[in-house]
Every structure is written in structure tokens, then in C-alpha cells.
């Protein structure tokens, strides 16, 4: 339980961080091209999309609401039990 709680905080902390990093005022007027092919502002946000995927990967590992699946399973087991009674 303690591991899950800590994981939840880590995940939500990362989501807040992503939202803060999304406002990249530091690259706003920067015309540099990364590897000569992609403007840095676009490259940065493409990396942010990858970071978002990584964050959501952590979310499913550390903060997955397993109890919701169990609730559905127990509700269907209960419904099946009543129908066969």
C-alpha cells in the first residue's frame, strides 16, 4: 500500500512537471535547428510527447487502479450468483 501511495505521488508530480515544462518560454524565440532538420521549439515538444508517454507508462506501473477491475469482477460474480440461485 505504501509503495502504491508513493508511486501515485511520483506520477502526479511528474504530470504537474510535464504541464510546467509544456510552457517552454525558454525556447520561445529560439530559431536553432536541431541536427539541422527540426526547429528546436518543435523538437522540444516532440520530446515532451515522448516524456508524456513515459510518464503514463510509469502511471500504469505505479498508480494503476487495480481495485476498479476487482470491483467489476466481484460485481459480475455477484450478479452471476444471483441469477443461478
Amino acid at each position: 500500500m505504501a509503495k502504491r501511495s508513493a508511486g501515485v505521488y511520483v506520477v502526479w508530480g511528474l504530470v504537474v512537471l510535464l504541464i510546467i515544462l509544456h510552457q517552454d518560454n525558454w525556447f520561445w524565440n529560439d530559431p536553432r535547428l536541431v541536427f539541422g532538420v527540426i526547429p528546436i521549439g518543435l523538437f522540444y515538444h516532440a520530446c515532451l510527447s515522448i516524456a508524456a508517454s513515459c510518464t503514463w507508462f510509469l502511471a500504469i506501473k505505479l498508480a494503476w487502479p487495480q481495485h476498479l477491475e476487482h470491483e467489476v469482477e466481484s460485481a459480475s460474480a455477484s450478479a452471476q450468483g444471483e441469477s443461478t440461485r
Binding site: H22, G41, S49, E69, S76
Partner: protein
Amino acid sequence: MTQLIIIAIYLGLLLGLGMFASRLFRGTKQDYMLASHSIGPFLLLMSLFGTTMTAFALVGSTGEAFKEGIGVYGMMASASGIIHSLCFFVIGIKLWSLGRRFGYTTQVQFFRDRLDHDAIGIVLFPILVGLVIPYLLIGVISSGVVIQQMTGGAFESLFQTPDAQTNGGVPKWLGSLIICCVVLIYVFFGGMRGTAWANTFQTLVFMILGVVTFVVIANKLGGGETFWESLQNASSAVSEEKSTRAEMSKTKFFTYLLIPLSVGMFPHLFQHWLTAKRASSFKLAVVAHPIFIMIVWVPCVLVGVWATTSLVPATPALPRIPGTDIVNANAVLPFLVKTQTSAILGGFLTAGILAAIMSSLDSQFLCLGTMFENDLVAHYLGKQRFNDKQQVLITRCFIIAIVALTYFLSLSNPTSVFALGVWCFSGFSSLFPLVFAALYWPRLTVAGAYASVIATIACWSYLFWKSGFGANRTYTVDISLGGATYETMPVVTIFACSLIAMVVVSLLTKPPSAEVLQRFFGPAKA
């Protein structure tokens, strides 16, 4: 003509897929509307992604990048990558669980039950339908426009127009009619299973064709010996104005973050969420959605900014908005495909654009038919009055009626409907506090829910009126603070009104009954 043949083959394949899905139809209402909760991780990912990505993802992203530069990716795409997955994780899985436990098919059923108040359905139903219809119209009109543009020259003696780009092309009314019929047939016969399969196929089509088109256009415009060299040539020709966000408001960029919250309240996504086989089916969608957005959007944004450079040949000139000298930004991608690539690729890309359009249209048509049947017919006339077969038939009849109505509305060519796009999203986003509170805030009361909905309608209507009913497409709510003026998206004001009204009124009114709290927030009964 080549393009037309490719489009015809593509539409034929789609129909075949829909008909094949219908062979697996089990004849029940559950199966027709929710595919019997049988959708696994991959189909769920593809159908959620296909539904949230409209034609705008391909054509609009290129057009916006042409006008605004690379900033549109951060504003619309990377923001969606974060927020959409957040909605799937926080709202989607929880709603799936409640839907499975209590047997919901529509959002209205959930709110009626959660708030223990029947009349909330009467208020929510027209709002949800009203916000989806302009979205549908945009898809139907866009499909006609795309087919006409891409088949220009195919039937010069048959379909004449004053515009050289579209002369000889399949007329808009006919293109839209064909698309409506194709979508209608596979939704009518295949129901949710057909829709999920078609979405998966179409999402694969528009993602793959988007990347192929990007490579071909990059090589053609860049003109390098290698693909890498072509990329370097093309990107180095882009002006500083387009490769930065110098002209973009920072506060507008920030406040645009609220727009993607709309997916939390889309009725068609609610229905897709409920199709999941189990909660774990969401995992792939939650993780892969931001990457998928990147795969589609980055190439389109790059093509959009390259189109502003001198690398694009001066003749033929970029298409203009009729009667003006302004470049028609939404026509930039079809134009580049037509002039810079082969007819075969042009045909494939048209199929890709149509795929993006249809993968949203199908879910919306099915969802509206489902809502009419469940929230009106079955709810008010009684579920016992009709058997499953009859309820499926009623849903199908509603779907035909909605497709026909949307098509006839599209014939009046209400171009102003395009201005409604962001306003529809703002409306859905502003109802996000309601769905979030319904799931996570036990203190939400029915009066608080009404207050939220009324505040959303009132504020939305006022700002929509202030924007000249959407005519002013760059309308912002400007806030003056410490001598500086900050531009904010209207969604911020509407969202804040909705949230404040909901919280204040809920706290001032009687809390929900212990029975409701036990049902939604107590431990599930084994």
C-alpha cells in the same frame, strides 16, 4: 481519375470490413452499442486515437503551421498528448468500471444515476447533442471539399466549376453523400464492433500514409541526394518567424491546455471507453496516445512551415480563398500532395484524409443513435416495452435519421460551422469539472450540477456572442494586470464559471443521500 479509383477501392474495403464485422453481430443491444465489452488493448487504442483525431490532424495541422508556425504543435498536439491520456486514466477507467457495474451505455444514464435525479438528463441531452452536431457537420462538409479538391480535373465535361483547382472534380454534395452512405452502411450493419474495426483500419491508413507523404514531399521540396539532406535543405529555408513562436501569445498558448480536457466529456468517447474488455485494456491507449499524436502531427507541422518557403514552386500558385488574395491554409496539404507527388500517392493521401474524417464520424453517428434510443425512447417508454431486437432497430433508425439530417444541413454549406469547432471543444471542456466531481467529489449535489451546466451555457453563450458568433476566430478574453494585457482562451472563463458555480452551489445545498454515496463511493459489494 487515378485518385478516384484509389478512393473507390478504399471505400469498398471499408464497406467489406463493416459487413464482415456484422457477421459477428450477436443480435443484442449490448453487442450493437458496446461490442459486448469485448474490445481489447490494440483495438481500444486505435479506436480512441482514430476518434479523437479528425481531419484536422492531417489537413488542419498543416494549415495552422502554415499560418502560425511550429508553435501549433505545442499548443494543440503535445498538450493533447498529456491531457488526453490524463482523461483516459482519470476519467475513462473509472467510468468504465461504473458502467460495467451498473450497466450504463450513455453519459446521461451515468449522471441520472449518480445525481439520483431524472431531469438532469433533459438538460444534459440537448447540450451534448448540440455540441456534437457542429462537429459532425465539419466532418461531412470537409469530406466533400477534400474529394472535390483531389479529384479536380477527372470529369471536366461533367462537373464544371469556375475554380481551376476544383474544375472537373466530384462535386461537394456528391462527395459528402458518398462518405455519409459508406459510414452509415458500416455503422448500421456493424454497430460498435464494425466501428471499432473500421477505426483501427482507418487509423493505420492515415498514420502510414501521413508518414509516406511526408517523406515524398520532403524529398521533393528539399531536393537533396539523401532524405536527411532534403530535410536539412527544407528546414533551413524556413523563416525565423515560422520556426519560432515570436508571434504567438504565451498566455494563449498556456490557456489552450484546457481545450483537450473536452475528451473527458465527449459522449462518443464515453461509449468507446465502455467497450473495453477489462480495465487493463486501457493501458496501451494511455501510454501510446501521446506518441501516436507525435507521429501524425510532427510531419504535418513540418510540411506546413516548409510550404511558407521559396522551395515551393511559384506556379501553380498556392490556392487562395475565393475572392481574396489570402492563401487557403486548409488547402495547403492537398495542394502539395497534388503538385509535388504522384497521382497514386495523391489518391492514397485522399484516402488517408477521408479515413481521419470517417473514423470520427462513425463513432459520433453511433453515439447519437445510442443516446436517442437509451436516453429518450427506452428511458421514457420503458425498457420492458421493447425487446433487444427492437431496440437495435430503433437505434439503427435513429442513426439513419441523424446521418440524413447532418447531410441535409451540410448542403446549406454553413461555412460558419468551422468557426464553431473550438467553441464546441470549449463547451465540452467546461463540463469537465462536472464529470470529474461526479467521480471523485462525494459532496457534488444535483443543484451543484445544474449550476455548473447553467453557468457553462450562460458564459459560453455570452462569449460566443462577443466573438461575433465565432466570426472573430482569434477572439480572446483579455485580462489586464499590472499594466500588461494577457490574452486567454475563452475556455478559461467558461471553465472557471462552471467550476465555481458547481462548488459553491454544492456546498450550499443538501449533500447527496447516504445510499448514493454508498453506491458510488463506498466499497463495492461482493
